[in-house]
Amino acid sequence: MNDYGWFERGHVAIVTGASKGFGLAIARELARAGISLAIDARGEDALAAAERELSQSVEVVAIAGDVADAAHVHRLVEAAERRFGRIDLVVNNASTIGRSPLPPLEQLSPAAFDRIFTTNVYAPLHLIQHALPIVKRGSGGTIVNVSSDAAVEAYAGWGGYGSAKAALEHMSRILAAELEGSGVGVIVADPGDMDTELHRAAVPDADRTQLADPRDVAPALMRAIASPRPAYLRVALQAEVPVEA
């Protein structure tokens, strides 16, 4: 048992982009809760370091690769199933902002737009498609798609990223409608401004002391995952700075 409701030690989560930033923070929280992990990231060294750290508390499968590569996504799901025999949670965290500095839509090439959509929309869909049959074999599960308020608000320069996240969110709502009654819920999580590589690429001159630490935001996602599972939930996460008694 742990603090996270329906989650039990021995359950299995896939987290993409888990070597750094928010993905690593989520993976750490899951590991603390005793959840076995299948993780990926593009950079082999950072991924290996994350695997070493996380595998001190839980079983970890780490596959280096780019979620934009459908074959890699397939391998990740296969590896998780082979090792653990089950998947209870899928966290689509890996994401790209595209070119930095952010170009206005007028100057965003279709090829660049396509790359953003490949990583931020098609890749999560591939992962969901491969993982769902396995998730459904269990007693229930949760799909988490990490989004952004750029999906909702119109921020100049965020045309590619914002459109892709808006697509991801609507896809999530439709998925939830299709999964009604299956025991699998869909969560869209908006983590807010965090001090991550993605944020540095998007807003290089931001005052980093004003940004939330992903390690303080991940626990809020954990509680959203653990709360009674509605078919669809969009949640704006807030950093929780631990306040000692």
Binding site: E153, E180, G192, D193, D207, L211, L233, Q238, A239, V243
Partner: protein
């Protein structure tokens, strides 16, 4: 006893639709800051909220989500009438408000073969009833298909459930939106974070308020988790202020108060906060504007004192602040 102040609410002060449908952003509604320390009322916009708070302050929000609790019931021999689910007691047993008189033991049909039986009134006013539901599908699915957000006469159009959710909504269970949290947006949360203001949450599922009757709020279910109790105590110990977002949060926090400390607790609460009882854990309250003679006004007086609050309300009416769940908000800071 505090004397309930009477004032007439002009129609022009009623918000009849969400601000987003009036050309405003969610966080673009007005904010009246009533500061008991300076004895002043100040006009602002909600987006400026972080500038009225200090590093080390803690906002406590209600993460209860609104359910589409308004159903249509039909008698075999009569026209349909509205049925508002208020509070789930256990399983299929609810406290509910039929919007027409019903009799003990009466049964009415709901959509899709569902039915409701009115068992016995909650008290002798016979507005709220213990009612048993018999539904063909699980509650959540039934409400999603056949329910609508509860709406009172001042809201002139039916708006979707999303208009009745706050950014904090996580645990479904409120018959009416915990509306003080409605103006919060991602950017306000990020600004609060940058200003060193932290956010913690409680859960309190609101029952129906039926604003046309001016009654004390009925029994509601609440949960103050350990992390929030700890954050409240640590904030106060360090001289920070605890600001409750909504009267529901004050009710939950004060229900979890043991002396001047918050303790993690959950359960049913009947607590009504008045100036005589006072508030022990909250130093401020962000809330909407309340109806004349509403018992909530007693709670507001506990923060700002009667003369300053009367002044604030007179100013709000005169300068066109908007009332109700889609309206403007007030930040009350205790001295």
């Amino acid at each position: 006893m505090s004397v309930a102040v009477s004032f007439a609410l002009p129609a022009a002060n009623e918000a009849t639709s969400p601000p987003e449908r009036r050309g405003l952003a969610r966080d673009g509604v007005r904010l009246l800051v009533t500061d008991a320390a300076s004895g002043l009322n100040r006009d602002a916009r909600f987006r400026e909220l972080p500038s009225f708070l200090r590093r080390g302050d803690l906002l406590v929000v209600n993460d209860s989500a609104t359910i589409p609790a308004a159903l249509t019931a039909r008698r075999t021999d009569g026209p349909p009438f509205a049925l508002h689910l208020s509070t789930r007691i256990a399983g299929d047993l609810w406290i509910a408000e039929p919007r027409e008189p019903v009799e003990r033991g009466e049964r009415a049909s709901l959509a899709n073969g569902g039915a409701v039986t009115f068992l016995t009134p909650v008290d002798d006013r016979a507005r709220l009833w213990y009612a048993a539901l018999a539904l063909p599908v699980p509650l959540e699915a039934f409400l999603a298909r056949h329910g609508a957000p509860i709406r009172y006469r001042y809201v002139t159009e039916a708006f979707p459930l999303a208009d009745y959710q706050t950014i904090f909504a996580r645990v479904p269970g409120s018959a009416e939106m915990p509306s003080a949290g409605r103006p919060f947006t991602r950017r306000v949360l990020d600004d609060l974070h940058a200003a060193g203001v932290r956010v913690a949450s409680i859960t309190l599922h609101t029952g129906v308020s039926s604003p046309e009757r001016r009654e004390r709020p009925s029994r509601e279910w609440y949960d103050v988790p350990a992390r929030t109790a700890t954050a409240v105590n640590a904030t106060r110990r360090r001289g920070g202020r605890v600001v409750a977002v909504g009267t529901t949060v004050v009710r939950a926090l004060e229900s979890a108060a043991a002396g001047c400390e918050a303790i993690a607790s959950r359960g049913w609460t009947d607590l009504v906060v008045t100036p005589e009882r006072g508030v022990t854990l909250a130093d401020g309250l962000l809330t909407g504007f309340h109806e004349p003679e509403a018992s909530h006004l007693d709670m507001l007086r506990a923060f700002a004192g009667a003369p300053l609050l009367d002044e604030a309300y007179a100013h709000a009416i005169e300068t066109g602040y908007l009332w109700h769940e889609f309206g403007d908000v007030q930040l009350l800071l205790a001295a």
